[in-house]
């Protein structure tokens, strides 16, 4: 297990950790749908050809086969792009995996718009929403290579169905080491008292940059929170930060509908109603361009987060009141 210090893609961590799981556990099997180089499951496939099933371009078949393997005692890892895992094969994941509560892991690579050039047909921006809505499904979105490595290794120990979202581009590391654990899935990476920047996946390192810029340019102390387990979300950790700062901006490479924004807003609305602003995709599909150009195009940048935070801070004295009811989090 080697921690990365240079920018690296979360999908690489999945591939590396999957190989390690294969070495450690006989019951790990992997399936892919003709994308094993992209999803990185090819590393497992090369080492364990007997336990690797490349089904070709047939994602529905892959998910139901994984169900069959799991009911017969195996621990299947299904890899494909997020668009096919959550979009095309939704019913197969729903009935065969989630409804049966089977230990099947879906390694969904190329989530969001940062996959770039392939464009809207491949840029999955609704998968977190779809998988959050599915009963019994755990949804994990790691922030960098090191956390993705931990998430994949630990997934073996869990008995629940799990959707793990990984990304295509190399992104800066947020964790210096491979963390010991994902913990409750909510990490405060930087303490602050003025505003909470609550981010997931590729937006976490950008949120850290945004916090730097807010401190430098506005003297604002922003708290940066990484949510790696979006479902079930750890509401206590979210509420603790909201209670401290009284206003939040969420950031995700995903539709704000059904995504991290809604998950945080749901917690806030029920237990500590403070304003929660969102950075994410609106009512729109992705477009072609380089990954970074796509992120820029949709405002999924450190600048985008900082600007949204400035708007939120302007409104904070007007809209943010101490809660009228609920637990005392201060």
């Amino acid at each position: 297990m080697g921690a990365k210090t240079e920018p690296s893609a979360t999908r690489n961590a999945y591939g590396d950790a999957l190989l390690e799981l294969g070495e450690a556990h006989e019951d790990v099997v992997a399936l892919d749908a003709d994308l094993s180089v992209s999803t990185q499951s090819a590393k497992f496939g090369k080492a364990f050809p007997d336990r690797f099933f490349n089904v070709g371009a047939a994602e529905a078949n892959m998910m139901s086969m994984a169900c069959g393997l799991a009911v017969t005692g195996k621990r299947p890892y299904c890899s494909t792009f997020a668009i096919f895992a959550a979009g095309r094969a939704y019913d197969q994941v729903r009935l065969g995996i989630a409804h049966n509560e089977l230990p099947v892991r879906i390694g969904a690579s190329h989530g969001g718009v940062s996959l770039g050039e392939d464009g809207a047909s491949h840029q999955m921006i609704e998968d977190i929403a779809l998988m959050r809505a599915m009963p019994k499904m755990t949804v994990i979105v790691p922030a960098d290579y090191n956390q993705a490595y931990r998430a994949t290794l630990d997934s073996y120990e869990s008995d629940e169905p799990m959707y793990m979202r990984f990304g295509r581009p190399a992104t800066p590391v947020v964790y210096d080491e491979v963390p010991e654990t994902l913990g409750p899935g909510v990490d405060v990476l930087r303490e602050g008292k003025d505003i909470s920047l609550i981010a997931t996946g590729h937006m976490v390192w950008r949120a850290l940059e945004a916090a730097d810029s807010l401190e430098r340019e506005d003297g604002v102390e922003a708290e940066v929170v990484n949510v790696s387990i979006i479902k079930p979300i750890n509401s206590e950790a979210i509420l603790e930060s909201l209670a401290k700062t009284g206003v939040a901006v969420t950031a995700e490479e995903h539709r704000v509908v059904g995504g991290l924004a809604d998950a945080v807003r749901q917690v806030a609305a029920e237990q500590h109603p403070v304003p929660v602003f969102a950075v994410g995709m609106g009512d729109e599909f992705g477009v072609s361009g380089t990954g970074e150009a796509c992120m820029e195009h949709f405002g999924l940048t450190a600048r985008g987060i900082a600007d949204r935070a400035r708007e939120a801070l302007l409104l904070k004295p007007i809209v943010s009141h101490p809660p009228l009811f609920g637990p005392d989090w201060t």
Binding site: D50, N61, S64, M65, A66, C67, L69, T72, Q92, L95
Partner: protein, 330 residues
């Protein structure tokens, strides 16, 4: 014949005592247990008689549930009788036996026929059959592996079942059980309209699966009309053959042909398809081969007539068996 005007609360079976047709099926001899089967396998005549018992249970269950797919269950009765009473290696006292054969009802809407077979083999009490589709009861509208003992995997979304079977077959192969444990999937003509079934058929041949038999209950009727009118799937046997399967076509109500085809399919070096030409609603004259009963429970009058007919057949079959036994004994 008719239901009493007011029905008592509680156990739905309790109010059936007054209705002769809905009393437990008279049968002094439980099905032969796998362990005791050894030297003596049930004859075709006995299997036919068991098919009648299963049909009677289906009519009773649907009459009580007032919901479900009766005609789809009846067309598969002979196949299911042959499997559970003769072909399958299973042990109701040890449902988790690793080396057992696996039965997957890909056409999950025909759940009552599997439930009847499971109950008569002692996987759960016969009384549970009358709880079909009722809140809080173990027998769901479609098979549920986590609620009903003996159900290997949940089904009910057409097209997924054969993929699940391929996954189970591969897992058994990884465990070194391909020569002993066989997977039998019962598909509908609707399954063959779903594209995923052909993804699974491709995969089974590609991965060299040997311990899998797909039985297609080709009854030619679906919700909106005949399969020929709605979406003609044509020569299903030829399709499976062209996908690299061993494929035969039989009369799905000819017990000798069913048993022969099933037992032959165990010994092949390829996945096997048995296209069973059947009649929807088989065994009940008012329904057999007639459109308009799919997903519609029988009215009390229809159920009464159906049970009259089936009980008369059961008596004939029982008497014939006793006569034959008597002759054997002389």
């Amino acid at each position: 014949m008719g239901f009493p005007a007011s029905q008592p609360e509680g156990n739905p079976a309790a109010n059936l005592a007054g209705m002769s047709h809905l009393r437990p099926v008279p049968d002094p001899r439980p099905p032969t247990k796998e362990a005791a089967r050894g030297e003596r396998v049930p004859t075709e005549a006995e299997l036919e008689r068991w098919a009648t018992v299963l049909r009677i249970e289906c009519v009773r269950m649907l009459a009580v549930a007032k919901s479900g797919h009766l005609d789809s269950s009846l067309s598969a009765a002979d196949i299911v009788s042959a499997l559970y009473n003769r072909v399958l290696r299973h042990d109701p006292e040890n449902p988790g036996w690793a080396e057992r054969d696996r039965f997957v009802l890909c056409k999950g809407h025909a759940a009552p026929i599997q439930y009847a077979a499971l109950a008569h083999h002692g996987y759960f009490p016969l009384e549970d059959l009358q709880g079909l589709r009722k809140i809080g009861e173990p027998l769901q509208g479609h098979p549920d592996m986590n609620r009903t003992p003996g159900v290997e995997v949940s089904t009910g979304s057409l097209g997924q079942g054969l993929s699940m079977c391929v996954g189970i077959s591969l897992a058994l192969r990884l465990d070194g059980l391909a020569e002993t444990s066989h997977v039998f999937g019962v598909l509908s003509d609707g399954d063959c309209q779903e594209g995923q079934t052909w993804e699974a058929a491709t995969a089974a041949a590609h991965f060299g699966v040997r311990n899998l038999t797909a039985i297609v209950d080709y009854n030619h009727l679906q919700t909106d009309g005949t399969t020929e009118e709605v979406m003609d799937i044509g020569d299903v046997r030829a399709k499976f053959e062209s996908f690299g399967w061993d494929a035969v076509e039989i009369d799905g109500h000819d017990m000798e042909a069913i048993v022969q085809a099933l037992e032959r399919s165990r010994r092949l070096d390829r996945p096997a398809a048995i296209v069973a030409q059947t009649r929807k609603g088989r065994g009940v004259s008012s329904m057999e081969g007639r459109f308009g009963f799919h997903g519609k429970p029988p009215s009390p009058e229809q159920a009464g007539e159906a049970l009259d007919e089936l009980m008369a057949r059961l008596e004939e079959q029982t008497a014939a068996l006793h006569d034959a036994e008597g002759k054997d004994g002389e």
